[in-house]
């Protein structure tokens, strides 16, 4: 075994062992999280109610379908037109209408969905979106 081969073999063993430890620990943590979710958790409710699952890559129609609320009411509560905004993500809407305030649209959509599911009127949106 030449010196170069020895070094290469050593590098393989060290990188492999480091990857095993790093990803193994993370995989165990993921398994712990999976235990109480999906088919291993409680049967899901007919309508999704956990608003923490709303992400800023989602669109308004997607959120409306996921939480079984009317999409037009959700757009109305945001003060936005449906047709030109239905393919935009919550992040894109935020960047377009509130470029200096991150997470405004997401927070409002979460609050509006929660109110609509409780059959309450959605909260008033504090600011007027800029075109």
């Amino acid at each position: 075994m030449t010196k170069k081969q020895k070094i290469l073999t050593f590098i393989f063993i060290v990188i492999g062992a480091a990857a095993m430890i790093f990803f193994g620990m993370r995989a165990i943590r993921s398994v712990m999280r999976m235990r109480g979710a999906g088919p291993f958790g409680k049967p899901p409710p007919a309508d999704q109610t956990d608003i923490a699952l709303i992400r800023d890559w989602m669109t308004v129609p997607y959120v409306a379908r996921m939480y079984n609320v009317p999409p037009d009411a959700l757009f109305k509560s945001l003060g936005l037109a449906d047709r030109e905004n239905r393919k935009k993500s919550l992040k894109e809407l935020n960047d377009e209408f509130y470029p200096d305030q991150s997470g405004v649209i997401l927070a409002h959509v979460q609050a509006a969905v929660q109110s609509m599911q409780k059959q309450e009127p959605p909260p008033h949106f504090p600011a007027t979106p800029r075109p």
Binding site: F23, R26, A27, M34, G38, M58
Partner: protein, 194 residues
């Protein structure tokens, strides 16, 4: 990148899934596995049709794999000219011709990080395309059923599955690298004692 693609998958559905898996199979780091898991969840939520998504996704992945195999195949002469006499290349080519099918199958869904090099080696080593495509389709079908099925089963909580599969893939890759290193060490020590 993944977030942008997820939004577009919601908007454009199965045809975009096919395109993403094609680009992923060509080596673009666009998180194709995340898209497959999410597609399973989106079909469970009724946002996309699972049959169309699976069919177009499979077609995209297989076309992409074929193209990357072709890159290796057409670079065969250059590889032969450059490495043809190298014992390492001859040994790698021979072992790929013996056990390449399993490598193709498992790199489609278990150790996806090395799928592209596997395609290039398959094409460059003269591994028969008819055998490559057979194992490729079997592996891609396993990938779509397993990853998409888990996304479907976990529904809106699919991100937990994505996190687990990403870490599990890293763990398997680590085991493979470690195993390779140890096997090389044993082989060399045996050679030294003979």
């Amino acid at each position: 990148m993944s977030d942008f693609l997820l939004t577009q998958v919601i908007n454009y559905g199965a045809p975009l899934i096919g395109l993403i898996l094609l680009l992923g199979a060509l080596g673009l780091p666009i998180g194709a596995s995340v898209v497959v898991i999410a597609a399973g969840a989106f079909s469970q939520q009724g946002f996309i049709d699972w049959l169309h998504a699976s069919a177009l996704g499979l077609a995209g992945a297989v076309i992409g794999d074929t193209l990357s195999y072709a890159i290796g195949y057409f670079a065969k002469d250059w590889i032969h000219h450059r490495f043809g006499a190298s014992p390492a290349w001859i040994s790698a080519r021979d072992s790929f011709n013996k056990q390449g099918g399993l490598a193709v199958f498992f790199t489609r869904w278990l150790v996806t990080a090395i799928a592209i090099p596997t395609n290039l080696i398959a094409g460059g080593s003269g591994y028969k395309y008819s055998r490559f495509i057979l194992y490729d389709i079997a592996g891609e079908v396993t990938w779509i059923i397993l990853y998409g099925g888990l996304g479907y089963a976990f529904g809106s909580q699919w991100e937990i599955v994505s996190e687990f599969l990403g870490n599990f893939g890293g763990l398997i890759l680590g085991v493979a690298i470690f195993g390779f290193g140890v096997s090389q060490l044993i082989k060399r020590q045996k050679q030294n004692t003979v």
